[in-house]
Amino acid sequence: MTEIIRAASAGTLESSDVYVEIEPRTQGIELQLESVVLGQFGGAIEAAVREILAQFQVENARLHVVDRGALDCVIRARVETAILRGKGDN
């Protein structure tokens, strides 16, 4: 399991990018998602974020994701970077 021990962020608010903030939480995942393409891709964005969290075995964290129309690969990369910046052993 990967523990998030500090607030961290990755990405920017530029068009076609995504800004991901992550911080410690005691119980479970809390995901707050904003996106300029929420109607068209909201489900796909949330699925991508949760997949990366599962991949890194992050079980407790609060995430704030502000998407400006990032591609799937960008979203995954930004979430991964935020996790690596916020986890314990680095």
Partner: protein
């Protein structure tokens, strides 16, 4: 000395006989720096006049105060060729009971001239005028260059009020609109904010995707069979379109090709092409930047034209009928090559045809230049949200991921294929984009028509529905 000067805008409105239910008109050469539309509506609201139709060649973000006049029923109907996103969003949310009427830059003056959209009072924002109403856009602190869109308003409106911030003694030399069309002249402190009227220098894109598209666009033109002496050309002011013009200029200079004319909204890049010998003249309905304004004032080869002369169908001819190549943009294009420039992908109004449909219909080669996707939204769809320009008038789509030729244009298909350009069926290009973005879910559409889009021939071409509020 004779004079049509009246003491105030309010007095001019009174003398013009404006009352409830009439139509007033405006032109948009002062673009996002325009003060005139707002100051006129402010006066009209103060006079208690209501239920007006506003026929404006374009509505910009600076005109947001019109929303308050709509809420107060001072304005109850809009007719325009283009509507920027601020007012467009409110219209898409259903602020007006009556649908907006969209026309093209050619269709608007044609309908004014034929009396289909009669104007009771036209307000002409004039950067320079004399006391009898001769006026010009080329001079003064608020200079905007061409007054092309205002000619039909001035010629056909029942009453014409010229509003200027630079009154000169009679007679103004080098006028655009003659005193024969003008009833009243009003002076104000400022008709606009120069910063919003013309941009300093319009810069070409440095975005690598834009540069790839631009260089492909130039190659399409090079191999179209049209790039030879006498070549004529129009391009938009978008970053990639300007970059395409720059690449085209390099080709024309290197190969010693002398074109006939550059057309349109004119930017400094087109002026550079004129000076480099790429064209014999520029025909200008609207200036986009300072360099264009200086050029139309100082260079006799740079000629002002009216919107009717530019693009109107139904006259004996218009310049677009002699146009070889036009480069245009799109918010969406569908697999039948229909183009949307009225709404964004979620269906909210943020533009309009302007000269898009007119030039596409007239030009021998109408090219759309657009990225495969913007902010994850693919440009190519099965059906565009709104048909701004019908696919039969579009010859080719250039993206960073390949070039799709309209199958109707077999000659272009053959020429570009022989030249070894990366051609793809538009459906394959759509799939290529969706492989990168994913397939977007369709958004719910409202059930109320909030705008009608009239094609350049005057037929109802499409309608735009409201965007439901979340």
């Amino acid at each position: 000395m004779n004079s049509k000067l009246v003491a105030s805008l309010r007095e001019a409105i009174g003398l013009a006989g404006l009352h409830d239910g009439m139509t007033i008109s405006f032109h948009h050469h002062l673009r996002n720096g325009d003060h005139v539309l707002n100051m006129v509506l402010e006066e009209i609201a103060g006079l208690g006049i209501r239920e007006l139709t506003v026929n404006a060649s374009s509505i910009f973000d600076v005109h947001a105060p019109i929303l308050e006049h709509i809420q107060n029923h001072v304005v109850t109907k809009l007719q325009c060729d283009y509507m920027a996103a601020t007012v467009g969003r409110a219209v898409s949310q259903g602020i007006l009971d009556t649908p907006v009427e969209f026309r093209t830059h050619g269709g608007r003056p044609r309908d004014i001239a034929l009396g289909r959209t009669p104007i009771d009072v036209a307000f002409i924002a004039a950067p320079t005028a004399d006391p009898m109403g001769n006026c010009s856009g080329k001079y003064g602190k608020s200079a905007c260059g061409s007054l092309g869109y205002a000619f039909a308003d001035a010629r056909y409106a029942k009453k014409v009020v010229v509003i200027t911030d630079n009154l000169v003694p009679y007679p103004l030399q080098d006028w655009s609109i003659p005193e024969t069309d003008v009833d009243y002249v009003v002076t104000v402190d400022a008709i606009g904010d120069p910063k919003g009227i013309v941009s300093g220098t319009t810069r070409i894109t440095r975005d690598p995707v834009g540069l790839v598209m631009a260089s492909q666009a130039a190659q399409v033109i090079r191999h179209s069979g049209l790039l030879k002496d006498g070549f004529s050309f129009q391009t938009g002011a978008g970053g990639a379109s300007l970059a395409a013009a720059k690449f085209l200029k390099d080709i024309m200079v290197a190969e010693g090709i002398q074109g006939s004319f550059g057309l349109g909204g004119i930017t400094g890049y087109m002026v550079d092409m004129l000076r480099a010998g790429c064209f014999r003249s520029l025909l200008d309905v609207q200036c986009f930047d300072l360099q264009a304004v200086e050029s139309i004032r100082d260079d006799p080869r740079h000629q002002e034209i009216s919107a009717q002369h530019y693009a109107a169908p139904g006259d004996r001819s218009a310049v677009v009928d002699s146009l070889d190549v036009v480069i245009l943009g799109a918010t969406e294009i569908d697999t039948d090559f229909n183009v949307n420039v009225h709404t964004d992908s979620s269906g909210s109004i943020m533009g309009g045809s302007g000269g898009h449909s007119d030039t596409a219909a007239g030009a021998k080669l109408a090219m759309i230049i657009a990225p495969m996707f913007r902010a994850r939204l693919p440009i190519i769809t099965d059906h565009v949200t709104c048909i701004s320009t019908p696919g039969r008038d579009i010859d080719v789509l250039v993206t960073q991921g390949g070039i799709a030729v309209n199958p109707n244009n077999t000659e272009l298909q053959r020429r570009l294929s022989d030249a070894g350009l990366p051609l793809l069926d538009i459906r394959a290009l759509k799939e290529k984009a969706e492989a990168i973005t994913g397939k977007p879910r369709a958004l719910p559409r409202g059930d109320r028509v909030i705008a009608q889009v009239f094609g350049r021939e005057g037929q109802l071409q499409d309608v735009i529905y409201n965007v439901p509020q979340k």
